[in-house]
Symmetry: C2
Subunit: 346 residues, 2 copies
C-alpha cells in the first residue's frame, strides 16, 4: 500500500520549501510505504485569482489523503473582503486540534544536551481564531468586537495531548500558559481544565509522574528568553501558542528551523512555523529545514519513526557541519544546495 | 504649591520598591514642587482581607492627586469570585488610555548609542481587557467567551500618542503591531485607524516626516529578539502590548529595569513593568530601578524634565558602575543599598 500525502505549498517560499520536503521524503525509500504526492491549491495568491483561498477540491482531496504538508500563506496588506486564511480554515475543517511545535537547538556535539528543548502544544481550533467578529458604527465612530471562545472540551483534549507528549520526554513537565489574572473566566477555564487532566478517570493515573507549572503569558515570553531551560512542554490557548512558538523560534537561531504538525485524532498535517516570507520569495534561498523537519514530525506521528529519524539525523548533521546553510542562518547557500546536503545524508 | 503624589504599593515587592521611589523623589529638592505623598490601599492582599481590591477611598483620593505611583499586584492562584485586578480597573476609571513603556539598554560608555532603544505604546483601556466574559454549560461541557473590543476612538488616540512620541525621537519611526491576518475586523480597524492618523485634519501634517511599518504580533516578538534595533515606537492593542513589553524587557537584562506610565489627558500614573514577584517579596532584594525610572517618566510627563533627568542619570551611573546591583542583574545588593547609591548621585 502507498502513503498518500497532500502537498499544499500555498504562497511565497511555501512553493520552494514544500518541494524540498517532498524530495526528502522520496529519499527515504523502503522506510515508509511508497509515497504518493497529491499537489493541491490554496493561498492568498490563489484567492486573488479565483476569489477563494481554499477551493473545495483541496478539502475533499485532503480527506482522501493519509496526511499532508502545508507551506505558508501570505497576508493581505489591507482588509480584503471575503478573504480568510486557508490554514486557519483547514485546522478547523479537519479538526486538527493540536498544533505541536518542538523547538530544539542542535548542540555542537551530538553527545551534548541541547540548550533549548521544549515543545509548544497550541490549541488549534478556538480562542480568537473562531473569527467571530462584528463591527458597528456608533456616534463615537466604529467599534469592532471579536469573540474569544474557550471550551472545556477543547481545553481538555489539548491538555491530554500535552500530558501525552510529556510522558515521552525525560523531564515530564508541563507548563500551562494563560492570562487568568485578566481573563479569569476564559483562561480560568483553560487553566483549570488542563490542570484537572491527570485526575480524569479515563487517564487512569498515567500522568501522575508529570509535574505541572503555570505562567502568565507575558511573563512566559520574558522567561522564555531569560531561562528557556525551565520549559519542557508548554500548553497554551491558540493565540498565546502562536506568539510563544515564534518567540521560542528566535532562541534557536531562525524560524527557518522550526517545524510543526497540526494533529487531530485521524489526520496530521506538517507545516513549517515560518511564514511565506515575501521579502525573499522567488530567490531560491529559503531554508528547507523547517519543512523537512515538519515532514519528519508528520511521519513520526503516523508511526514511521525510522523514516523520521533519518530525516532529523540528516538535518542535524548539516546544521552541525555548518558549511552549507541558507542566509537566515548566516550562510550563503541556496535552498537546493541545503537540500542536496541533506539528501546525501539520508 | 505642592505636588500631590498618590502612592499605591499594593502587593509583594510593590511594598518595597514604591517607598524607594518615594525617597528618590524626595531627594530632588527644589527641582520639583514640594512633593506631598498620599499613601493609598489596593491589591490582592487587601482583597483577601476586605473583599474588594480597589477601595472607593483610593479612587476618590487619587482624583485629588496630581499623579500617582502604582507598585504591583499579585494574581490569585485560583479563580476567586469577585476579584478583579485593581490596576486594570484604575486604568479605566482614570481613563489612562496609554501605557508607555520605554525599553532602553544602558550602554557601557555614556557616549555610545544603546543597543535597544524603543518604546512600547500600549492601548490601555480595551481589547480583551474590557473583561466581558461569560460562561455557559452545554451538553459538551462548559464554554466560556470573552469579548475583544477595538474602537476607532481608542485606536485613534493611542495612534496619536504614538506619533506624538515618535516626533520627539531621532528615528521618527512607528511600527503598528496587529494580527489582522486572523482578526481582520478588530485588528483591521486598529491598523487602519492608526495608519490614518497622519492624515487627520487636526494633526495638520505634523506627523508627515514619520515613517510607518507594521508587523504581525507573532513575528514582531520573533524580530524583537533577533533585531531589536529595527524598532523605535511600537504601537499595539492592549494584550499584544502587554506581551511585547515583557519581551522587550528581556532584551535589556531584567524586568526590574523597565518602567512605564499609564497616561491619560489629565492624569499620569507611574508603574514598574514587573509584577509583585511573590518568590522574592519580603527579602529586601527587589530592584528599585523600574520604580524610580517610572517616577522619572511621570515627572517628565508633568513637565519636570530636570527632576526626571536627575533620576535617570543617577540610575544610569549606578548601572554603568555595576558594583551595587540587585540579584536580578547578577548582583548581591539589597533594595536599600541600590537606593542609597542612587540617592548619593541625585
Ligand atoms: C498565518 C497565520 C494565520 C498563522 C496563525 O496565526 O496561526 C501562522 O502565524 C502560524 O503560526 O501558523
Ligand atoms: C497585572 C496585570 C493585570 C497587568 C496587565 O496585564 O496589564 C500587568 O501584566 C502589566 O503589564 O501591567
Amino acid at each position: 500500500s502507498s502513503l498518500k500525502i497532500g502537498l499544499i505549498p500555498a504562497d511565497g517560499i511555501g512553493k520552494e520549501v514544500i518541494p524540498a520536503a517532498q524530495k526528502a521524503i522520496e529519499a527515504l525509500g523502503s522506510d515508509i510505504p511508497k509515497p504518493e504526492f497529491v499537489p493541491l491549491l490554496a493561498g492568498f495568491e490563489y484567492f486573488t485569482r479565483h476569489g477563494e483561498a481554499l477551493p473545495e477540491e483541496t478539502v475533499s482531496a485532503l480527506k482522501e489523503c493519509d496526511c499532508a504538508l502545508f507551506g505558508a500563506v501570505s497576508s493581505p496588506s489591507r482588509r480584503v473582503t471575503g478573504y480568510s486564511s486557508p490554514i486557519v480554515a483547514l485546522r478547523k475543517i479537519l479538526d486538527l486540534y493540536a498544533n505541536i511545535r518542538p523547538v530544539i537547538s542542535v548542540a555542537a556535539n551530538p553527545a551534548d544536551k541541547p540548550d533549548v528543548d521544549l515543545v509548544v502544544v497550541r490549541e488549534n481550533t478556538e480562542c480568537l481564531y473562531v473569527k467571530q467578529e462584528t463591527i458597528t458604527t456608533t456616534e463615537n465612530g466604529r467599534e469592532a468586537r471579536a469573540t474569544r471562545l474557550i471550551t472545556e472540551r477543547a481545553s481538555r483534549r489539548i491538555g491530554k495531548m500535552a500530558f501525552e507528549l510529556a510522558l515521552d520526554r525525560p523531564r515530564k513537565h508541563v507548563t500551562i500558559i494563560h492570562k487568568s489574572n485578566v481573563l479569569s473566566i476564559t483562561d480560568g477555564l483553560f487553566r483549570e481544565t488542563v490542570r484537572a487532566v491527570p485526575q480524569l478517570p479515563e487517564v487512569n493515573g498515567r500522568f501522575d509522574g508529570i509535574t505541572i507549572a503555570e505562567q502568565l503569558v507575558d511573563s512566559a515570553v520574558y522567561r522564555l528568553f531569560r531561562e528557556p531551560q525551565i520549559y519542557d512542554v508548554m500548553v497554551a490557548p491558540n493565540l498565546y501558542g502562536d506568539i510563544i512558538s515564534d518567540a521560542a523560534a528566535a532562541l534557536v537561531g531562525s524560524l527557518g528551523l522550526v517545524p510543526s504538525i497540526n494533529a487531530g485524532d485521524d489526520f496530521v498535517m506538517g507545516e513549517p512555523v515560518h511564514g511565506s516570507a515575501p521579502d525573499i520569495a522567488g530567490q531560491g534561498i529559503a531554508n528547507p529545514i523547517a519543512s523537512i523537519r515538519s515532514a519528519a514530525l508528520m511521519l513520526r506521528r503516523l508511526g514511521y519513526a525510522k523514516g523520521a529519524d533519518r530525516l532529523d539525523k540528516a538535518v542535524d548533521e548539516v546544521i552541525r557541519e555548518g558549511r552549507v546553510l541558507t542566509p537566515d542562518l548566516g550562510g550563503h547557500a541556496k535552498t537546493t544546495e541545503v537540500l542536496d546536503e541533506i539528501l546525501k545524508r539520508i
